[in-house]
């Protein structure tokens, strides 16, 4: 009997790639090509059926399967329709200083600080309000910081602690001419101990006494590379000016120190010094305003202004700088040889540090104050060492394997810089502060000895920032 299939089909049957995978086939199924007469390839080796393109409404009616409707929802593209913040809006919100809260209770009988009251020792532990004009002045010199607790209260006020009263006495003595030497001081202390607030209190009292205040609110702003810079001609080593920053500083000086309106320019500067003609007998306020308007001449004007302020019969000066460690290291600026520029090569920092070091004393006396920061402080071992030595901390010794910055050590070499550690409040001061908080409505508990003692311990011995955190901000 002849075979039913042709030789070609036999060949195909033996060409199955994996014959063992398939179940043993019945003889009548051995040749699947029979089931698809119109194709020459085996249906077993055929590709799987192609997926049908899905129509949105119905799937194909497979035999035996139900006709199904598949509801397809349209994907909505989510478009963000919210309003984008304007350029600088977020920054403005971040940097906004709020000094008043209308929800806070007005403290009845809150005395304002004034030039006579500030040296009263009996006021120790009491909170005194800062008068409105002084608040404006402080705002102009950027003495208030964002993270301080000013928005909790109806109006700014300050605690008369021991350090405040000491400084008040010094300011008073300098104003009276009892003390004619410049006091140079660096505030150190743990985070939240009130170093920046000490600067603010010093500025408040200086304003009340009619001093001229020049404040660098953050040394970091000068080194971060956020403001333009340029070399000062004919200086070796090259000094760099920051004209925009200097202009804004002149603006702050002229706005914050109304006393400058009463002081007149003693003599017009030579043309070699200032490229523009300066009218004779203008007030120093106008002079500062000139520099504020034109950054090109800001630095020469600043120099001129400072020289005018150090003439005889001018008021004492208060110079402040916060975040001192930033001014003690290489900046983010680079020189024309692509080397980082040291902070001491910038004219403003150089000018301030020459006063702090005692290199250029203030002829009319005054205070040169700087504060370190614990929360925003780059590691500067030279500064740490110098401050520790000046403080008399024998535990910090020079590390023989570390490299120290001679320029930084040089600032403190001359001596005479006082390092003042701002510690915690005593319990009496803490109680006065808490009573003020209670009267402002931010503390609901009864302020008694036990409450004060407990919070005093929790805040690490009356560290003001921690006290505020524990009492005012952590309300359950």
């Amino acid at each position: 009997m002849s075979l039913q299939t042709c030789w070609r089909c036999l060949a195909r049957g033996s060409n199955q790639p994996h014959p063992t995978r398939w179940p043993p086939q019945q003889p009548w199924n051995l040749y699947p090509s029979l089931t698809a007469a119109f194709t020459t390839s085996s249906s077993l080796s055929a590709l799987p059926p192609k997926k049908k393109s899905k129509s949105p409404m119905l799937e194909t009616n497979v035999k035996g399967a139900k006709k199904t409707f598949v509801k397809k929802t349209k994907k909505r593209q989510k478009t963000d329709s919210s309003k984008r913040p304007e350029v600088g809006e977020r920054r403005a919100l971040r940097k906004r200083i709020v000094l008043s809260n209308t929800n806070a209770l007005e403290v009845e009988g809150l005395k304002d600080i004034n030039a006579q009251l500030m040296i009263d020792e009996s006021l120790r532990g009491q909170v005194l309000g800062i008068p409105g004009p002084v608040v404006d002045q402080l705002r102009a010199v950027e003495a208030f910081k964002v993270k301080q607790g000013w928005p909790l209260f109806r109006r700014p006020a300050m605690l008369m602690r021991k350090d405040t009263l000491d400084m008040a006495t010094e300011i008073e003595n300098i104003s009276l001419g009892i003390r004619d030497k410049t006091i140079r001081r660096v505030f150190v202390g743990e985070r939240g101990s009130g170093k920046t607030t000490m600067l603010l209190q010093a500025m408040t009292m200086a304003f009340l006494k009619g001093w001229v205040v020049i404040n660098v609110p953050e040394a970091q702003d000068l080194i971060l590379g956020h403001t333009e810079y340029g070399p000062l001609p004919s200086t070796n080593p090259t000094l760099y000016t920051q004209r925009t920053y200097t202009a804004s500083l002149l603006n702050a000086i002229s706005r914050a120190n109304p006393i400058l309106q009463d002081l007149q320019l003693s003599q017009p500067p030579p043309r070699t010094e200032l490229p523009i003609p300066v009218p004779p007998n203008i007030s120093l306020s106008q002079l500062a305003h000139l520099g504020a308007q034109d950054p090109e001449i800001a630095w020469p004007i600043f120099e001129l202004l400072y020289r005018e302020l150090t003439l005889p019969d001018r008021p004492p000066l208060l110079l402040c700088m916060d975040g001192l460690a930033h001014a003690m290291r290489n900046t983010h600026y680079i020189s024309n040889t692509y080397q980082p520029i040291h902070a001491h090569q910038f004219t403003l920092i150089n000018w301030f540090l020459s006063h702090l070091s005692g290199e250029s004393p203030l002829p009319n006396a005054g205070l040169v104050l700087a504060a370190t920061s614990e929360s925003n402080s780059p590691p500067v071992p030279s500064l740490t060492l110098a401050l520790a030595q000046l403080e008399g901390n024998a535990a910090v010794q020079k590390n023989p394997f570390a490299t120290y910055d001679a320029r930084v050590l040089g600032v403190f070499e001359q001596g005479g810089v006082q390092v003042r550690r701002v510690g915690g409040l005593c319990k009496q001061e803490a109680r006065g502060l808490m009573e003020y908080w209670a009267r402002s409505g931010v503390v609901r508990q009864r302020v008694d000895e036990g409450f004060v003692g407990e919070k005093w311990s929790l805040s690490g011995g009356g560290c003001v920032g921690e006290l505020e955190r524990a009492v005012v901000r952590m309300r359950v």
């Binding site: 743990e190 407990e454 311990s457 929790l458 690490g460 955190r469």
Partner: protein, 256 residues
């Protein structure tokens, strides 16, 4: 000392149980060696547990001998930690049943009630082998005291942290590892829990705390200080114990 006695005790007993007195074949009239048989010395020779049975029988013999001696009330008897049945099994090397050993303990307790003044020394020696090698009742905790500088300390442990806390009368200053408490613990909650013992008793401004703490994380360290401070506070003021219990301390403190 006690261990060496134990070893000799078991070996002699076993030999006693196994060996019989040697047969004297030279005696007159000579006995017939055909009739000679080994008579075991111990009545427990035919049991599977010769040593323990012998010991029990010895104890019973001692009890019979000394039962007329005056006794004290059970509460007045010296407190003795007898060996557990497991320890006794290891000692004699036999599978002793707990119920049998319980009978031994009962006899021992009765013997222990004999007035200490008249306790005979053979009985003392016999009872010695049943006592544990280390007497837990002899170990007494050294009581915490306020030292010459006015400090008291307590040790607290929590999670992986261990704290040694010194308390001294003062104004509420706190140093943790030489740092102020706000430098040691960033969270106010941790600071509160570290000083909770003082807060719960209203002593926050009466004592200074000086703590050394190591191991674990900040929460564990804070809570280790809590316990250490509570224990140190108890040295100063033992009457504060109920207040500290009410202060919701950990189970360790509540069980004390």
């Amino acid at each position: 000392m006690r261990g060496s006695q134990n070893r000799s005790f078991t070996s002699t007993n076993s030999s006693r149980a196994i060996a019989a007195p040697p047969i004297d074949l030279t005696q007159d009239p000579p006995s017939n060696p055909q009739n000679a048989r080994v008579i075991p010395a111990s009545p427990s020779y035919f049991t599977g547990r010769p040593d323990s049975t012998d010991n029990y029988l010895d104890l019973l013999a001692l009890l019979r001998r000394y039962q007329t001696l005056p006794t004290v009330a059970p509460a007045q008897a010296p407190r003795v930690a007898w060996r557990t049945v497991t320890q006794y099994r290891l000692l004699v090397g036999e599978p002793v049943r707990a119920s049998k050993y319980h009978k031994v303990i009962e006899v021992l307790q009765r013997l222990n009630r004999i007035h200490p003044a008249v306790m005979p020394s053979p009985l003392k020696q016999a009872m010695e082998i049943y006592k544990r090698d280390i007497d837990p009742y002899a170990v007494s905790k050294r009581p915490n005291i306020i030292d010459a500088d006015g400090r008291a300390y307590g040790v607290g442990r929590r999670k992986s942290s261990s704290a040694k806390v010194y308390l001294v009368q003062g104004e509420g200053e706190v140093l943790v590892n030489g740092k102020s408490i706000n430098n040691a613990f960033g969270r106010i909650h941790d600071r509160e829990s570290a000083l909770w013992a003082l807060k719960a008793t209203g002593r926050m401004d009466k004592y200074n705390v000086w703590a050394l703490v190591s191991g674990g994380g900040s929460t564990g360290q804070a809570e280790a200080i809590t316990l250490g401070a509570a224990k140190a506070l108890m040295v100063f003021e033992p009457a504060l114990k109920p207040a500290l219990r009410r202060g919701q301390f950990s189970s360790e403190f509540q069980s004390q």
